[in-house]
């Protein structure tokens, strides 16, 4: 089963794009093929489902990218920082190896977003791109399956 982890703060406007996409991708796949975990932030507890997955796709907002663009990259295991509350995809892969002896292939979709202001909704301009991002992520996942 492939695991999709979409993360971000749903009260900080476009930061929620990862969660939104993870939630909506679930309806495009049979449940036995895809597990989605929308979450507020990356935490050590994710190491266990990561270690059990055939492959992992992380999805996150990125204010430093040009808005509405997408960067798709491989994630490698990396050492953690000193602060457990700033967990990265790479450090989770390391933790999965250390605790459960297994790490699957992993990729990260970074989505350029324009606004991280206090808001419980995506900005209208980003919302228009959601179908495009869903199609993009779905195409990646279907290649893996």
């Amino acid at each position: 089963m492939i695991l999709v982890i979409g993360y971000g703060n749903p009260l900080r406007g476009d930061d929620a794009i990862g969660q939104v996409l993870a939630e909506q991708l679930a309806s495009r796949f049979a449940p036995e093929l895809l597990q989605t975990l929308p979450c507020f932030q990356l935490t050590p507890e994710l190491a266990q489902p990561i270690s059990a997955a055939a492959a992992v796709l992380f999805i996150d907002a990125d204010i430093q990218l040009t808005p509405y663009t997408v960067l798709y990259q491989t994630v490698q295991p990396e050492p953690s920082g000193a602060l457990v509350h700033h967990v990265t995809p790479g450090s989770l892969l390391t933790l999965a190896t250390q605790l459960y002896g297994r790490v699957p292939p992993a990729r990260l979709i970074r989505i350029g977003v324009p606004y991280l202001e206090y808001s419980a909704e995506l900005s209208p301009s980003l919302r228009e791109y959601v179908p495009h991002f869903l199609d993009y992520a779905e195409a990646i996942l279907r290649k893996w399956l």
Binding site: Q48, S80, A82, S91
Partner: protein, 470 residues
């Protein structure tokens, strides 16, 4: 020459704080303070809101212990409705609270404190975290991650989501428990018990290694307070408040939590945004007391579940004034949590469809008290005749512990901080005593009277243009 050391930020705790250590001319510690440097202000900005919003609003105080605020707030709202909620609803709220105890205690012990216990207080700071523990002691890290995961999964199955579930409402809960979720939670219990017992066995085997810290962390002498049930046993949801000392003597018992203002006072000190809470009959600051796992196990007759009670004889051999023993008490409470969840899920009406008492407001004042992972939590609301909040007072668990934390950093700094031979491990021990309390600082600071405030207007080049203070 006199010197000031500042630990900023205090690491591996929830929230923002700093510690200041004042050294005299000889380099000896003269004083130290624990400063909580953040203000949340929920007590003020909820004024004017409809009371039925309060549980959801108050849950947003915290992302680690939102369930505690949900429960205390809902109980205060039950008081405003003047209802007695259905027994199945009370038991479901209890199970949710126990699930939170499990996940929050697991976070504190394994993620925040185990790096010190396993890797050593003097270990390299960059490795002194959960990832460092995973590298050197993967079984313990695995157990911590799994316990936290189980607690969160229980919360999700009960309340719909892991953080800020909206399931707890004034009058009860907004949906009954399904048989499917009951069975899934029950299926987790044996693994949970085995996992925490494995850690308890390890911890009891190594506890003597920490004799110096245990001794230093016991220098602050206080009373202890916690909820107990009608049998004087451990109770997290509803009961009486009891105060006792470390020798097991009961100082005050059968205290009505709703009448908390008769015996609990709150003071403000200039070095912290956190209120200092004290036991009124002994005055301020002599009425210093602690709450939380160590306090609860110090005041109870028993836990009331067999495996947790099997740990109590050993617990009672320890120097129970020492804040170090919060760690062991936390593990015992995790064990009790699994046992009690199992017991409650087997009550005959736990799947009842009757889980909410409906009413309009029938009182203009409501007080809700429950035990949070960190100690006794009080939500006190007043409403007008339209049901809008006119006044809110929150007495947060960490606030009860403020005086003890402040004194503890002084005692530990006095023992370990020597200016002539300074090293990072000394300062880590000062932080470590704070970690034993597992403070939740984001929860803890709201308002009392008029807050001291300083505003600085700073130009783009960093120059302070104007300062206003009150």
């Amino acid at each position: 020459m006199a010197k000031t050391l500042v630990i900023d930020p205090v690491t591996r705790i929830e929230g923002h704080a700093k510690i200041t250590i004042y050294l005299d001319d000889a380099g000896e510690v003269q004083n130290a303070h624990f400063h909580v440097t953040q203000v949340r202000g929920f007590e003020k900005f909820c004024e004017g809101r409809p009371f039925h919003e309060m549980p959801s609003l108050m849950a947003r105080i915290c992302g680690i212990c939102p369930v505690s605020h949900l429960l205390a707030s809902a109980k205060a709202c039950d008081g405003l409705l003047a209802v007695r909620i259905p027994v199945p609803a009370a038991n479901l709220r209890r199970i949710l609270n126990l699930a939170q105890m499990i996940q929050s205690h697991a976070l504190s012990f394994f993620y925040l404190s185990s790096p010190d216990l396993l890797l050593g207080m003097d270990a390299e700071p960059a490795a002194r975290n959960l990832f460092g523990v995973a590298q050197q002691q993967p079984q313990i890290a695995r157990d911590g991650v799994r316990l936290r995961q189980m607690g969160q999964q229980m919360i999700e199955m009960l309340g719909g989501k892991r953080i800020h579930p909206s399931w707890v409402v004034p009058g009860g809960v907004n949906a009954p428990l399904s048989a499917e979720h009951r069975d899934k939670i029950l299926a987790m219990i044996p693994e949970g018990i085995t996992t925490v017992q494995r850690t308890i066995t390890w911890f009891k085997g190594v506890i003597e290694k920490y004799a110096p810290e245990i001794q230093t962390f016991s220098r602050v002498k206080t009373l202890f307070m916690g909820l107990v049930n009608g049998d004087g046993n451990l109770e997290f949801y509803h009961g009486y408040l009891r105060l006792g000392d470390a020798a097991g003597n009961i100082i005050a018992d059968h205290l009505d939590p709703v009448a908390y203002q008769d015996y609990i006072g709150e003071a403000v000190e200039p070095w912290s945004y956190l209120k200092s809470v004290f036991y009124k009959p002994q005055g301020y600051p002599a009425g210093i007391y602690r709450v939380g796992p160590l306090a609860r196990l110090n005041v109870v007759n028993a836990c009331g579940t067999p495996l947790a009670d099997a740990e109590m004889p050993f617990f009672r051999t320890l120097d129970r004034q020492s804040s170090f023993h919060y760690h062991y008490a936390r593990l015992i409470e995790i064990l009790h949590g699994f046992e009690k969840v199992q017991e409650l899920l087997h009550t005959p009406d736990i799947l009842s469809q009757r889980v909410r008492a409906e009413a309009m407001p029938n009182s203009n004042e409501g007080i809700g008290v429950a035990e949070a992972p960190r100690g006794t939590l009080i939500h006190h609301y007043k409403i007008d005749d339209n049901g809008l909040i006119t006044h809110a007072n929150l007495v947060i668990a960490t606030g009860h512990n403020n005086l003890a934390m402040d004194r503890s950093v002084y005692e530990v700094a006095k023992e370990y901080v020597k200016s002539a031979h300074m090293n990072e491990g000394m300062l880590n021990r000062v932080e470590a005593v704070i970690r034993t309390f597992d403070p939740c600082l984001s929860c803890s600071t709201h308002a009392i009277g008029q807050m001291p405030l300083q505003l600085e207007l700073i130009a783009p080049d960093g120059t302070v243009v104007e300062t206003l203070a009150r």
